[in-house]
Amino acid sequence: MTTDLARRLVTGAMGVLLALLAVLLSSPGAHAQEGDPAPAEVAVFGVLEDSEHGPVEGAEIEALLGEEPVGTATSDADGQWRIVLPGPGTYRVRIDPSTLPEDVTLRDPDRSELPNVRVLEGRDKRVNFALGERVVRSGADSPRPPSGNRVVTRLWTGLVVGMVIALSSIGLSLVFGTTKLVNFAHGEMVTFGALVTWYFSSGTVGPGWSVIVAGVVGVALGGVFGAVQDRALWRPLLDRRTDLISMMIVSIGLAMLMRYTYTVLFGNSVRPLREYAAQAPWQWGPLVLRPKQLVVLLLGVGVVALYALVLQRTRLGTAIRAVSDNRDLAESSGIDVRRVVTIVWVAGSALAALGGISYATLYGVEWDIGFRLLLPIFAAVVLGGIGTAYGPLVGGLAIGLVSELSTLWVPAEFKFAWALFGLILLLLVRPQGLLGRPERIG
């Protein structure tokens, strides 16, 4: 029994690692193989965005090594620019202020040249030129009463962020519902989607697909990864009747393994996706929005509708709800619980990947975005009622709205702290969550 389990776990773990490596090994964060003749190129890049006017097109940027120019670039319609460099080193990067549009100025006129831009091997370096007036963070210094416009904008951002959290949360809740596992590695599944999408669309050695194609691949690979995790790790552990706390600790270990593998492969900088990184905002009455936010929200609504349809109208959905309700009863009434659990893993991981990709289009990709989203995701799941099917949606939107609206009155740093605080308060009065059924504990 134990040796069989050991064999399955070892092969499974290797499978997971190989899958990760296969996807990410040749990213620029990875290191050239021995004897590899072509070192990965490095570049400096950035997005020129004026705090008032949005992306700035046509500005000229130059990189110099000592006094010698090594490359120039002109910012495109999205404000993005990129200069490929001869190799790692310390460069001077400067912007030509005369090429800026008339109504756009450097925030600090002395900072048109950045004298010490250190570029490390294998990692592109982001360089920022601040344009326009500094936007005072809402309430950072003097809390002001919300004006109509800001309320609408915060409400909108809250909806979008809430949808991202909701998408990312469904998998965690479904997995808990069907297996009772509280999966601390769920955040890393969110990061996984974002990293895969970044690699296939924006990585310097990737195939350079469009973000949409790469995103579809990211969701699919996320699902595959979920299946591998279920088969290789969690199913054997469940078969061994491992207790809940041990499984939680295993998931904590898995989360660390994945997260730090990401850092080694990807580096620890924030990288934008190649497309949609900066978009000119649209103005609809009092609401200022970016098209990508609208896409994320509509996509979320569509996916959630599909999810609800599957859950309510199909045999599979009935089976998932039955297993969540009472695993033993479901099993004895002929439902193939293992199959249902695998499907839940695939769907939940794919949705988590989609959440990560949505987040990446909004805020860029980083190795720990999933870990930073993990507590808001937990809060959403617990708020909605852990293990329930629709709880994560309610919880996610609530967390998104609470955290964004809180920035109207308190500094934005506290955004998620409020969500977590609200979670603790809710547990005092309604421990089963908003949609959960009360259950006698102890």
Partner: protein, 328 residues
């Protein structure tokens, strides 16, 4: 490759201040998790409460050093009571989420620039513990053992630290074999049975949480005193996970488990660091495979892998202890 260097570095880490602090914090965690069955994954919040409680009262209000230490401990007691309110009436998974959330709320709050005048914001609180070194009785000079050199300043911190660990082990040992400790263990093994015997389970859980939290606060105080500085970056949620690695390594529910586990954890972490650094400079071995700047991440990835393998294949720890939980 210089194996002597690897061993010396490992040994220095295993006896140094981080290991001492982890030993204290993990003794507390052992009371929570090993003896009472409380799955607290926000222990780092108690370290923060201790360090910031003392730092703020010394720096902002000018309290003397010893009063500041007491303030730090009191902060941990308050945190334990506050956490006990919602957390202890809940199932294990909720307790876990509440404790980790609370520790993150503390970190976000002390890091915030809006309270910079109180907590120092991102840059933290400096030099509030200088009087600790003024009362250093150890004469100036270089000391050392087993090839590890320390100065009188470090020797003083380590002396106090290890004395605290010894005291904490003794007190915990007395407590867990007292009738009070028996009730804790009965709660861990069967909460309903303990309740049906007329024990107020809730009160015992709060007491356990507060006692273990105070040990955590002492750990936080020791780290802050050693650096004579405290910054929010030291209180990331992930550090509680390292403490669980140490706890499981040493054996859950064993009285000396946390001390052994903390020393082992730091020995392995530092020895593997030195070893990796030697291997990557050596062209014949890992040269070019791992880069210098990735060593930290590679190590931590292995910590994660190690935690998984330990819980799956050797849940009782290296030296034998309890497995993390009851069978389902």
């Amino acid at each position: 490759m210089d194996l002597a260097q690897v061993l010396t570095d490992g040994l220095r880490a295993a006896t140094g201040v981080p290991a001492i602090a982890y030993a204290l914090a993990v003794i507390g965690l052992n009371v929570h998790f090993g003896y009472t069955g409380l799955f607290n994954i926000g222990q780092i919040g108690f370290l923060a409460a201790g360090a910031y409680g003392a730092g703020i009262s010394a720096n902002l209000w000018g309290w003397p050093f010893w009063a500041a230490i007491v303030a730090g401990v009191v902060c941990a007691v308050i945190l334990g009571l506050l956490l006990g309110l919602p957390a202890l009436r809940l199932r294990a998974e909720y307790l876990a989420i509440v404790t980790i959330s609370a520790s993150e709320i503390i970190r976000i709050t002390v890091r915030s620039t809006s309270v910079e005048s109180v907590t120092g914001g991102p840059s933290g609180i400096g030099r509030w513990a200088s009087s600790f070194y003024r009362i250093n009785p150890i004469p100036e000079g270089d000391y050392g053992f087993l090839g590890i050199a320390i100065d009188q300043r470090k020797a003083w911190v380590m002396l106090v630290g290890w004395s605290l660990v010894a005291l904490a082990v003794l007190v915990t040992w007395l407590l867990v074999r007292s009738p009070w400790g028996r009730v804790l263990r009965s709660i861990r093994d069967d909460e309903d049975a303990a309740r049906s015997l007329g024990k107020n389970v809730y009160v015992f859980k709060v007491q356990s949480l507060v006692y273990g939290g105070v040990l955590g606060a002492l750990a936080g105080l020791l780290i802050a005193i050693d650096a004579n500085y405290t910054t929010p970056g030291e209180y990331q949620t992930v550090f509680t996970f390292y403490m669980y690695v140490a706890l499981i390594l040493g054996g859950i529910g064993r009285i000396l488990g946390p001390v052994v586990g903390a020393m082992l954890f730091w020995f392995l972490l530092q020895a593997s660091d030195t070893l990796l650094r030697q291997l990557i400079t050596d062209d014949s071995l890992l040269g070019g495979v791992i880069e210098q700047r990735d060593i930290g991440s590679v190590r931590l990835a292995f910590v994660g892998l190690g935690l998984m393998l330990l819980v799956i294949f050797r849940p009782q720890g290296l030296l034998g202890g309890r497995a993390p939980g009851k069978a389902r």
